[in-house]
């Protein structure tokens, strides 16, 4: 009520300031939930006259609103609220009266969805550079995103085929995408659904009020105390595909009479799941926030939250393994220790975030905010490490039948007995748990056997610990009724430390800080084996490591960004356009914290390093500078800029046609810039910014219970860079592949709709269609180096088969596609809502998904093989990209809520996904960058089998909640 008065008062004051003679007309009413008939608070009401925005108001706690000071005329009132579909109604103000619209009902966008951020965060587990976050902007008010965001997440659908890092995610006005990788950091707030529920989203190239954004939309999560829904809420959720139980509670006061608002949210996610053994959650989350409304113009917000916990990770395996296990969800990461399941790969994180935000709203025509956000803490990921010991991974290729038998005689593999026994083991896995899973007991016993206590096997923890300070100043101004200006400036200082520690000595007493791979080549040169040469120089021996000690590598990724943006929206009747630009400067460098024996570089004073009395001659990078591991690298700096133009035409109030076009010049990320950041400061030569052109054309209808959006889009991305690492059998060394000049083209259409059937009351027909073509359009260059030397193995090699498979006579047999997302995705279904019941059923089709390609397989070198002769058959074999089989899925959701005494609400929702129990849906994977070279003919190479991830079979999520 107080807020309503304040808002009304503010609106009144604003009106007084603007007009000498105040119009007396207006609009008022109450915003309610169509199902529960409950008031909807904080709904945003924008009054339009044609395309011009005339006024804006927010519904009060009881759903009421008032927009005074209107001249007579016809208006369109656009109502939006978190979790509800946008609604537009026509209003006519006559004779200076305030028009009472009474109840304006909103339809919940997806009453059935309780989409946990974990569904996204869980995919971001692999540390090999493989990232498969879906990028759909779920939770927005867009009909396409709402349906696709929920139904397509299981197949890792990427909107328009764009990579995860292209989706901008903001929190309280600050861009949260990872400074090093650009990935969307959903895991930072997973488990805090209530606190982070309130958000606003724009699609594609559109400009948001909170940031300029890129070409793949922008979601801003409000995140402050007054944005958390008022009251006490609790929920119990059980889930068969992620974790067993989630317990969550939240409480928010709303803005109280004294101007304070407080909010808290806690949760725990615990247990394993029905589908992937070894994957479990033991994660917690906390959120505390306070807002202080000082007066109508000033508000302060304080937020502190974190999600401490751990979760076991899944691993990809080859189809051979899945087939023998009879289970596409087999996970090679775990095994039994003393009869209990233990996962070798566990993500352990606790990265708290502290936010201070100041909102300044001196008038309806101007608002501004300043946010300071600081992220810190630890982000670890465990894995097995070993020294001079057998590979402990159960699905290591030498443990599989295919290593002992291949029908191709050129592979030189034929031993019936070994093939038979390995087959026996893998097809009767329950009888051989120590061979088909990690044999922890054996690892311990190997360590027990070492007389001096030196562990052969340890569990390491790879850390990516960030200290990330972000500052953002945003504003929105409406100098006239036809012009809205938004803009801001922002800065970022990020220091991320990459290192690993000994997490568990597995029964041993110590581990040694030496480089296993270097020892193979330089056993007689002890200094070269040292991960920390300076320690060796002081002590004369390598460091003996205890639990918690850092080892292997240790360096800072230093990133600095600064930028500003401005966007203007201009309206002329039914037509409006927006024009905006962004400019910034981004820089980064590596700062090595240890001197590695292989790349000692020079002393600080420029003299050569002396070890054991011997002067070490430095090695040199391709650009002629000394190869160093310790200290600062060169700094890469990039001027970035972007421009956007948006055109919008409203037809008859409910329909609009709009188009956007944008050009972006984006800096490469730190993780794309260094050849081997674990070992040295060497940067990729000729690092270039990415250039993106993107345009979309949209038609939208929203009215009379109908919501439709149709979009066509076209995007080109040029000069992308990528660095990946893998063991190269031809070099017998761990190799780094730096690829530059990757170009892509994304084009396609999107359709989202929800339409009443008119045949059965309360029954709607809903669906989305996403048809795209996301292809590579260039053959990039690749430079290959090995960790063990400064030598360049392949220099700027041409990936002749990257964009397509092209035979010797020029025949193109296949275009190559951007991987890991279906390029055809369709969902059609029915939604029924009545008397607090809802039932949704959807049928989905996914097709034209492709496997992530290895660059090595697209070189002439790999295709030609040892005889240096290229044939069409070799081209087809080595370069063809695998297309996944299409998939059909059926999902069903049902829910009901009860109101008790008009005060309390109890409810449940049950979502069952993949009712057909389709267990053969590949959601991603990658080609191994390894080749078989030990052939009979010595004429060609063969690929290692690819590895895949699959979607779970039938799975459910049951959510029980109460609110009061």
């Amino acid at each position: 009520m107080i807020k309503r008065i304040i808002l009304s008062f503010a609106a009144l004051l604003g009106s007084v300031a603007l007009f000498a003679q105040e119009p007396t007309g207006g609009v008022k009413g109450t915003v309610i939930d169509r199902n529960g008939r409950q008031p909807v608070e904080k709904a945003r009401l924008v009054l339009m006259k044609g395309a011009a925005e005339i006024a804006e108001a927010t519904s009060a706690d009881d759903g009421t609103f008032l927009i005074p000071g209107l001249e007579d005329g016809m208006y369109t009132l656009v109502i939006t609220a978190p979790d509800f579909l946008e609604t537009q109604v026509q209003v006519t103000v006559n004779d200076g009266y305030v028009k009472n619209m009474f109840n304006l009902s909103l339809t919940a966008v997806q009453q059935v969805t309780e989409l946990d951020d974990d569904a996204f965060a869980a995919f971001d587990l692999d540390d090999s550079g493989y990232n498969d976050n879906p990028t759909i902007l779920f939770g927005s008010n867009d009909v396409f995103n709402n349906i696709a965001g929920y139904n397509f997440s299981a197949v890792r659908f990427n909107a328009r085929g764009y990579a995860s890092e292209t989706q901008d995610v903001y929190l309280a006005g600050v861009k949260m995408n990872d400074a090093i990788t650009g990935y969307s950091p959903f895991s930072l707030w997973s488990g805090l659904n209530e606190a982070m529920r309130s958000k606003e989203t724009v699609n594609g190239v559109e400009v948001s009020d909170y940031g300029f954004g890129g070409y793949n939309g922008l979601t801003n999560i409000f995140g402050t105390a007054s944005n958390v829904r008022k009251g006490l809420r609790g929920s119990l959720l059980t889930n068969s595909s992620l974790y067993r139980l989630r317990v969550m509670a939240s409480y928010a006061t709303g803005v109280m009479d004294n101007g304070w608002a407080f909010a808290a949210n806690v949760s725990a996610r615990l247990g394993g799941n029905d589908w992937i053994d070894g994957v479990y959650y033991r994660s917690f989350a906390y959120y505390l926030a306070a807002d202080k409304v000082l007066n109508n113009a000033n508000k302060l917000s304080f937020v502190f939250f974190g999600t401490p916990g751990q979760r076991g990770a899944q691993n990809a395996s080859t189809q051979e393994v899945y087939d023998m296990m009879g289970d596409n969800m087999y996970n090679s990461n775990w095994g039994y220790q003393n009869g209990r399941v233990r996962n070798a790969r566990v993500r352990k994180t606790h990265e708290p975030i502290a936010i201070f935000k100041y909102d300044f709203t001196p008038s309806d025509q101007f608002e501004a905010s300043f946010t300071a956000l600081y992220r810190f803490g630890k982000n670890g990921y465990t894995a097995l490490d070993w020294y001079d010991a057998q590979d402990p991974r159960p699905d290591y290729y030498r443990n599989l039948p295919s290593y002992f038998m291949d029908v191709n005689p050129d592979m030189n593999r034929h031993n019936d007995l070994k093939w038979g026994w390995t087959k026996e083991v893998w097809t009767h896995a329950k009888d051989y748990p120590n061979l088909t899973h990690v044999d922890w007991d054996r690892l311990y016993n190997v360590n027990y056997n070492q007389e001096d206590g030196r562990s052969k096997y340890v569990q390491e923890e790879r850390h990516v610990d960030q200290q990330d300070l972000n500052l953002a100043l945003n504003f929105k101004a409406r100098p006239t009724s036809r012009i809205t200006l938004t803009g801001g400036i922002n800065g970022r200082i990020n220091r991320t430390e990459y290192f690993k520690t000994v997490a568990d000595l597995l029964g041993g007493s110590y581990f040694m800080n030496i480089d296993n791979f270097a020892e193979r080549d330089f056993a007689a040169t002890p200094y070269k084996l040292q991960n920390d040469l300076d320690y060796y120089r002081i002590h004369g021996y390598a460091q003996k490591l205890s639990v918690g000690d850092k080892y292997g590598y240790d360096y800072y990724a230093q990133v600095r960004n600064i930028g500003g943006w401005l966007n203007g929206n201009f309206s002329f009747g039914n037509f409006s356009f927006s024009l905006g630009g962004r400019v910034g400067y981004e820089s980064f460098w590596r700062e090595g914290l240890v001197r590695k024996g292989l790349f000692p570089g020079l002393e600080e004073n420029g003299s050569k390093v002396i070890v054991d009395g011997v002067t070490i001659e430095p090695t040199y990078d391709p650009d002629g500078s000394v190869t160093t591991s310790l200290g600062k690298s060169k700094t890469a700096g990039f001027l970035t800029y972007a421009g956007k133009l948006g055109l919008n035409y409203v037809i008859g109030g409910a329909m609009r046609v709009y188009a956007n076009v944008g050009y972006f010049n984006e800096a490469p990320k730190f993780n794309q810039a260094f050849l081997s950041p674990r070992t040295r400061n060497t940067m990729i030569e000729n690092l270039k910014p990415e250039k993106i052109f993107s345009a979309d054309l949209n038609w939208q209808y929203s009215g009379n219970g109908i919501n439709i959006r149709a979009t066509g889009y076209y995007t080109t991305i040029s000069d992308q860079s990528k660095v990946m690492s893998a063991y190269d059998d031809l070099q017998n060394a761990f190799s780094n592949f730096a690829i530059s000049g990757i170009d892509e083209r994304h084009m396609g259409v999107e359709l989202g709709f929800k339409i009443p059937t008119y045949l059965v009351p309360n029954l709607s027909f809903q669906g989305v269609v996403a048809l795209g073509e996301y292809v590579y359009t260039s053959n990039p260059r690749m430079t290959q180096t090995v960790d063990n030397s400064a030598e360049v193995v392949l220099s700027n090699a041409y990936l002749a088969y990257w964009k397509r498979t092209e035979l010797l006579d020029g025949t193109v047999t296949q275009k190559h596609y951007v991987p890991s997302t279906p390029q055809t995705a369709v969902s059609l279904g029915l939604a029924y809502n009545y008397d607090y019941w809802f039932i949704d059923g959807d049928v989905e089709y996914f097709g034209r998904s492709y496997l992530d390609m290895s660059p090595l397989y697209r070189t002439d070198y790999a295709v030609a093989g040892l005889d240096n002769n290229i044939t069409d058959e070799e081209i087809r074999y080595m370069t063809t990209q695998e297309q996944f089989a299409p998939a059909w899925l059926v999902n069903l959701s049902i829910g009901k809520s009860w109101y008790i005494d008009y005060k309390y609400q109890l409810g449940f929702s049950l979502n069952v996904k993949n009712l057909l129990n389709n267990r053969n849906v590949k959601t991603g994977g990658y080609e191994q960058t390894r080749m078989v070279d030990n052939t009979v003919s010595k004429e060609r190479y063969y690929r290692f089998d690819s590895k895949y991830f699959y979607m779970a079979g039938t799975n459910y999520m049951l959510n029980l909640y109460f609110r009061f």
């Binding site: 119990l236 005494d901 009979v936």
Partner: protein, 381 residues
């Protein structure tokens, strides 16, 4: 109604908690007790053992020259571990010996020393394993690969489940003391060929003198064919002298150093009667067969010396020693940790030495593999 609903939700919550409890128990999320130590097999606990062991000598006696033998029946041997791959000079093989002799178990796994400790008793159930020879040396492994290019009578056992069915680790014991053997003993074993008593045993040979000769075979591009039918990809250092090699073998780095130093510049490409010329020439200079030349690709115009650097790897070297009139090769792997250790100058100057290692036979000649670092295995008088 209200009470019923609340009761319903309370029940659901309990069910959820119960399901969590069931799920939670087997999931490892915190420190568990460390596993117990391996329980060694004894003669009483060996599966299917009937109480009689065959001696290694008798097992070898079953072999008929040139023909691998698949052992059948309830044949068990036992022996103590005398080899270790800790230094990397022995790789994927395990030598065990009893009172009657030693044998090479081709286990096919790396880092065996972590589980097969020196002196530890090992029991081998031989039924289904194959006894064969590699250039005269007795080996117990698995049936040979059925590939067209197979040159061996046996293959590595490799597969853990097969190892688990045949090889049983028994109690630990003190490491076996090496047997000191004389030239006569060595000659007697050489004469006995496959069945020689010393092969596969840990022995000490005293009063050896450096022979000023080495044997090494390099494949300039190890990715290309390098069998005896491919002399264009072979370089021998064997005719005379030591070719400037003063280390026990050469790691990749040392190999490159030797190549670049020029001490091998006169080494000839080729083998047997086919000799092309020194490594300072190119494949294009030497090879007239277009297909063979093509196989070098763009490397065809690099000198062999450059090709050797480009595809460098660790390489073994055999140093010859004299025991009276008998040649004893000491063969060292380029991947052993002591590959680049220099031979002591006193050895090179002709001092007598005692060497301890695993004695094997290779094409009728005695060959030594050091188990430990030369500072331990080689005693200089």
């Amino acid at each position: 109604m209200k009470k019923n609903l609340i009761a319903l939700f309370a029940l659901a919550a309990l069910v959820a908690c119960q399901s969590l409890k069931e799920e939670w128990q087997p999931v490892f999320t915190f420190d568990a007790n460390e596993p117990g130590a391996y329980v060694p097999y004894t003669e009483e606990t060996l599966p299917g053992f009937t109480g009689t062991f065959t001696s290694i000598k008798d097992l070898k006696g079953m072999y008929r020259s040139g023909k691998p033998l698949e052992v059948t029946g309830n044949v068990w041997i036992k022996g103590q571990v005398v080899s270790s791959d800790r230094t990397g000079n022995i790789y994927r093989e395990l030598y065990i010996q009893d009172q009657t002799g030693g044998i090479d178990l081709k286990l096919g796994k790396s880092s065996l020393y972590s589980e097969y400790l020196l002196g530890q008793w090992v029991y081998v159930y031989c039924d289904g394993l194959t006894l064969g020879a590699y250039n005269g040396m007795p080996q117990l492994g698995l049936e040979a690969d059925q590939t067209t290019t197979n040159e061996y009578e046996t293959s590595y056992i490799d597969v853990q489940t097969i190892i688990d069915q045949h090889v049983f680790r028994g109690a630990s014991a003190s490491p076996v003391e090496p047997v000191t053997v004389t030239e006569a003993d060595v000659q007697a074993s050489i004469s006995a060929g496959f069945k020689g008593e010393l092969w596969g045993k840990l022995v000490t040979i005293k009063d050896l003198r450096y022979g000023n000769q080495i044997f090494a075979l390099f494949y300039p591009n190890s990715n290309l064919p390098h069998t005896s039918a491919n002399p264009e990809n072979r370089v021998f250092l064997s005719d005379a002298g030591v070719w400037g090699i003063n280390t026990w073998a050469c790691s990749k780095a040392k190999y490159i150093e030797y190549v670049q130093s020029g001490v091998w510049d006169l080494a000839e490409v080729g083998s047997g009667a086919t000799r092309y010329g020194p490594i300072t020439g190119t494949p294009a200079d030497y090879l007239k067969d277009g297909k063979t030349l093509d196989s070098f690709g763009s490397d065809a115009y690099l000198t062999y010396k450059e090709i050797m650097v480009k595809y460098a790897n660790g390489n073994y070297v055999s140093h010859y020693f004299k025991l009276g009139n008998t040649d004893i090769q000491v063969r060292t792997s380029g991947f052993s940790r002591f590959a680049d250790i220099q031979l002591d100058s006193r050895i090179l100057n002709g001092s007598l030495v005692d060497i301890t290692g695993i004695l094997t036979i290779y094409n009728g000649a005695a060959q030594f593999s050091l188990v430990d670092d030369p500072s331990v295995s080689v005693t200089i008088h």
